[in-house]
């Protein structure tokens, strides 16, 4: 699961642009990740210029450790 780990987010939308599942919602000053759709692929985490996101080790959607 991808978590927003602190309040450094600048709301630039880089993560939204690379998200293959279209599961990040970006408002003027807020982002939300829809866990039910997210597949823990991690692309948003690496694309983030400010290191705001973190992929937490968790049970993946396929029941394996992600």
């Amino acid at each position: 699961m991808v978590i927003i780990k602190d309040n450094k987010c600048d709301f630039c939308g880089c993560c939204v642009g690379v998200c293959p599942e279209n599961c990040i919602e970006l408002y003027e000053a807020k982002i939300e990740i829809i866990d039910e759709i997210c597949t823990d692929c991690g692309k948003c985490v690496w694309a983030c210029p400010f290191d705001v996101l973190e992929l937490r080790v968790t049970k993946s959607k396929k029941g394996e450790i992600a």
């Binding site: 642009g17 279209n22 983030c48």
Partner: protein, 396 residues
């Protein structure tokens, strides 16, 4: 509602543009010019702010759309200096000049031009869905002023919603940017620094900006946009801001930081499909960025103009299928060239630091008068014979 626009329940537009950046307002301007009823929706409180851009444009690109005005020009740029990893500086002969803009004012001016042509502009209007009917886009779902969820119907929707675009994806167009094509960018506007006000600097190398480059774009005498983009795949090890902080601490230790921004630049080919029934995409949303330079202001405005004109024509002739011409028009005007640039980018950004240094040494032997950007490119290729065949393929 205390202020702002209220929409009657069955309000109807010919064209709704999502996003009030340069591509969106240019599309709106040219659509309105042909007599269409146009509405532009901007999610933020302001047009033109926050700025997420290096702000560089060429003179010849700009004048196609607006007369240069000192009100929104921070610097006039006559020279480029390209810095190799070992510090070798190459100064190409540009045969032209350009500007560093004040985007927050520039974007306002473009929005005013669109409004003067008859387009309506509404801010704090967050588009969070499309009205779809049997696969056809028939309008947008909008959250107004963070409070009121409404629907606005339109014959054509133009998605100009930037790097974070989702408008296309809601309608089934795949505009997701590959991680290796997304430049993860950070920029600081620094003041109290020593710079050359007429020169743009570009730094290359895996230690400075892997899979991208670092820029210093002057904004007046002692101020500059200093930023960098790294290819998204490299963000796994280290994030863009950390590279930028390291450079700024070393190069401009006594700078005052006026602003720090994050951004994403989709340095990709244009998306395969940028039109579907009732929907057109322009600018970053369509991935209309120059894949080598990452420049997207002018190319996005070119996309916006073509889309706006075609959409206006489709409304006038009452034939919505005309919008499918847009894809072809874009390809002919710029899309094909971007495909070639994309191939060039793919091997440029694979050069090792040693190779870049070697190329820079070759280039430094060429006198300034002869070092055009074209010459620079071919000399770079010659230093790596294995590339010649690859490059030949681009031009056949």
């Amino acid at each position: 509602m205390g202020f702002g626009k209220s929409f009657p329940e069955f309000d109807y537009y010919d064209i709704v543009v999502v996003g009030a950046g340069p591509s969106g307002t240019t599309a709106a301007r040219f659509a309105a010019l042909s007599g269409a009823k146009v509405l532009v929706l901007e999610k933020d409180r302001d047009v033109g702010y926050p700025v997420r851009c290096g702000e560089a444009v060429s003179h010849e690109g700009l004048v196609q759309f607006i007369e240069p005005n000192p009100k929104w020009i921070a610097s006039t740029v006559k020279y480029f200096k390209l810095v190799a990893p070992d510090g070798t500086v190459i100064k190409p002969n540009l045969n032209g000049f350009g500007y560093i803009l004040e985007r927050r004012i520039f974007d306002y001016e473009l929005a005013k031009l669109a409004a003067n042509c008859g387009a309506e502009i509404v801010t704090k209007a967050y588009v969070n869905g499309l009205i779809l009917n049997d696969g056809k886009v028939e309008g947008v779902k909008v959250l107004l002023n963070n409070s009121e969820q409404i629907e606005i119907r339109a014959k054509i929707v133009i998605g100009a919603d930037g790097v974070e675009s989702r408008v296309g994806r809601w309608a089934g167009l795949n505009t997701t940017c590959k991680l290796q094509d997304m430049e993860s960018a950070a920029q600081m506007t620094l003041t109290n620094i020593d710079i050359e006000p007429d020169t743009c600097y570009f730094y290359f190398g895996e230690k400075v900006a892997p899979g991208g480059y670092l820029w210093i774009f002057p904004k007046g005498e002692n101020t500059a946009n200093v930023g960098l983009g790294i290819a998204g795949i490299y963000g796994r090890q280290r994030h863009a801001l950390s590279y930028l902080e390291e450079f700024v601490e070393k190069r401009f230790p006594s700078a005052s930081i006026l602003t720090v921004i994050a951004g994403g630049v989709p340095c990709a080919k244009t998306a395969d499909k940028i039109v579907t029934y009732g929907l057109m995409l322009v600018g970053d949303a369509a991935r209309q960025v120059n894949p080598v330079s990452g420049g997207g202001i002018i190319s996005g405005m070119i996309g916006g103009k073509i889309a706006g004109q075609i959409a206006g024509e489709a409304i006038k002739k009452n034939d919505l299928n005309l919008i499918f011409d847009y894809e072809n028009e874009w390809r002919k005007t710029l899309g094909q060239r971007h495909e070639r640039y994309y191939k060039i980018k793919q091997f440029i950004y694979k050069f090792s630091d040693e190779k870049l240094n070697e190329i820079a040494r070759e280039l430094s032997k060429i006198p300034y008068e002869n070092l055009t950007l074209k010459n620079l490119f071919f000399t770079a290729v010659k230093t790596q014979p294995s590339l010649i065949i690859e490059v030949m393929k681009l031009f056949i």
